[in-house]
């Protein structure tokens, strides 16, 4: 069990892990937080999220945290948008081993099972914190070549043209081989079209690993099937699949598993903030270290007055361009942008003071723009990993570290910090 933020001894001395000269150092990976004038503190980060969520550690282990608890692990702090898992029973509840065994409630792993092929629930175990079903398919089909379609849910959501869907699961080939398996995919089909959201899994390994696929509903779509395996065989087969954390969600990437015994179930958005006033006047510097996933707008760190007209922070566009995303009195005075790669670790250093605003991304040369600066007291809110509370602007990734200085650091220092 990974502990939550824990109260630590207050200290007036600066711990050696705190970056030199910082007034605020939030090390989410190390789960240690320091504030000038206060010392080591656990309580300046707040999280609002009305649901449970899954959290993953560096070693790949998942666990659940309760509502309003931070998604904190040795990878950092998770920040994701709201997503609804449109399938039933990702926890594999109700399953038991046997011949043929009992499928998880709401699943039908014997769907359209080809004559001559048997299905057996070999085991139900917990791997990497996820309940994994071991299901064996074996036998000689009586009329090859032939396909069969084991289902992992029983919900058929309505949908329309243009909606982006992502299907995902953690899968493994636990025993046997895909000999005589001409093709095997994990997929959903759009209704009535035959196109689908399809992930070829012929290359499955023995290690339980995440797989996902994304596609956009074509013209005429009225619904989408629950996830299933599309298995096409040409002769005798014998293989055992490991299946865990099945998920179907609206959006361009698979987010963390939403594990429940029912469904559809929604993981609410992580609204992360600071209890303290944003210390950005009359000057500041900020370092952000983290990873952004996906293709939506992201706001790793954002200081505002709760609206749009006055703000400064770090913005990452849907095209993964980093800017300071600054508006003064409603006028956009952001810096020019620097491209980053989705899913890759990024270091961003920004700084601002009167008529001076700069950023450096991943060690790149500093970009600057002149701007007016705030009158004191305008900015009173800090958001981390999101823009206010709008779901589409979540960071959808990890936040490793946020450090702030009460001065405008030199360009060379900013570039060094982002390297």
């Amino acid at each position: 069990m990974i502990p939550r933020f824990r109260r630590q001894l207050l200290s007036t001395t600066v711990p050696p892990w705190v970056m030199a000269g910082a007034m605020l150092d939030l090390d989410f990976v190390g789960r240690r937080f320091w504030q000038s004038g206060v010392g080591t503190t656990p309580n300046i980060v707040t999280v609002s999220r009305a649901s449970t969520r899954s959290v993953r550690s560096v070693d790949g282990t998942w666990w659940q945290v309760g509502p309003n608890e931070p998604g904190l692990s040795d990878r950092g702090l998770m920040a994701e948008e709201a997503r609804t898992r449109q399938t039933f029973n990702s926890a594999c509840a109700g399953a038991s081993a046997g011949t043929p065994g009992v499928d998880p409630t709401g699943w039908n792993l014997s769907n359209e099972l080809a004559a001559g092929i048997s299905k057996t629930i070999v085991d139900v175990s917990v791997v990497n914190g996820l309940t994994m079903l071991h299901v064996r398919f074996h036998g000689t089909p009586s009329a090859p070549p032939i396909g069969f379609y084991p289902r992992v849910s029983n919900i058929t959501p309505a949908t329309t043209e243009g909606v982006v869907w992502t299907v995902s699961a953690h899968l493994a080939l636990l025993a046997g081989s895909f000999t005589n398996v001409a093709s095997i995919s994990y997929r959903c089909n759009f209704i009535p079209a035959t196109a689908g959201v399809i992930r070829n899994i012929i290359g499955l390994t023995s290690t339980l690993s995440p797989y996902e696929a994304t596609n956009t509903a074509p013209a005429g779509t009225t619904g989408i099937t629950s996830p299933f395996f599309d298995i096409y065989v040409t002769g005798p087969i014998d293989f055992t699949l490991g299946i865990a954390a099945t998920q179907l969600e609206i959006g361009p990437i698979a987010t963390s598993p939403i594990i429940t015994t029912d469904g559809p179930s929604t993981r609410a958005m992580d609204i992360i903030g600071l209890l303290i006033a944003p210390p950005i006047v009359p000057a500041f510097s900020l370092l952000f270290v983290g990873t952004k996933n996906g293709v939506n707008n992201s706001v790793p760190v954002y200081f505002s007055n709760g609206a749009e007209a006055n703000r400064i922070g770090i913005g990452v566009s849907a095209a993964n361009i980093v800017t300071t995303s600054t508006k003064i009195g409603g006028v956009d005075v952001s810096t020019a942008g620097t491209a980053i790669t989705a899913g890759a670790r990024v270091k961003i250093a920004i700084a601002g003071q009167s008529a001076d605003q700069v950023q450096s991304v991943n060690g790149a040369a500093v970009q600057s723009t002149a701007s007016a600066w705030y009158a004191g007291g305008v900015i009173n809110r800090t958001d981390i990993g999101h823009l206010l509370s709008i779901a589409s602007t979540s960071h959808n990734g990890m936040i490793e570290r946020i450090v702030m200085w009460p001065t405008r650091l030199p360009d060379a220092t900013l570039r060094s910090l982002s390297t």
């Binding site: 309760g66 379609y149 429940t260 029912d262 179930s265 609204i271 709008i390």
Partner: protein, 139 residues
């Protein structure tokens, strides 16, 4: 957590009644607070099952009767009296998530006066917040 199930004529009426839970952001459009709001949920009772044909075989699906109106769920740390007392008995039910998880029969903290015991016992809400487990209102 307290889940407040609310009913309005449509989403516009909900926005008018709940300005604190809706945000407009220039360049990003608007939306309900995504940390605590489930918008446009369905509330229904199950009336049976039917078999539908799909390209990958028949599928047994529930047949449902939907309750009329536009529904949403707002989760709060505590019972929100302002939500409970919205006009037109918009608040249909307030349920205590922790009490339900603990198996307490008293997890219903408020029910609109026009709701029958049978409706409360059989109505389902979809989707629900992950981590909730209501013996009646959950799917």
């Amino acid at each position: 957590m307290m889940d407040h199930v609310l009913r309005f004529a449509d989403e516009a009426a909900a926005r008018a009644a709940l300005p604190d839970f809706w945000q407009e952001i220039e360049g990003f459009g608007g939306g309900w607070r995504a940390d605590c709001v489930l918008a446009d949920v369905i509330v229904y009772t199950v009336t049976g099952v039917e078999i539908i044909q799909t390209p990958t075989g028949p599928l047994e699906v529930e047949t449902r009767t939907l309750f009329p109106g536009w529904f949403m769920v707002i989760a709060q740390r505590r019972l929100n009296a302002a939500l409970r007392d919205l006009p037109d008995i918009a608040c249909r039910v307030i349920v205590d998530r922790n009490a339900a998880i603990a198996g307490s029969p008293d997890f219903i903290r408020y029910a609109a006066p026009d709701l029958s015991a049978e409706t409360i016992a059989t109505a389902r809400v979809s989707p629900t917040f992950a981590g909730s487990a209501y013996p009646t209102g959950d799917e």
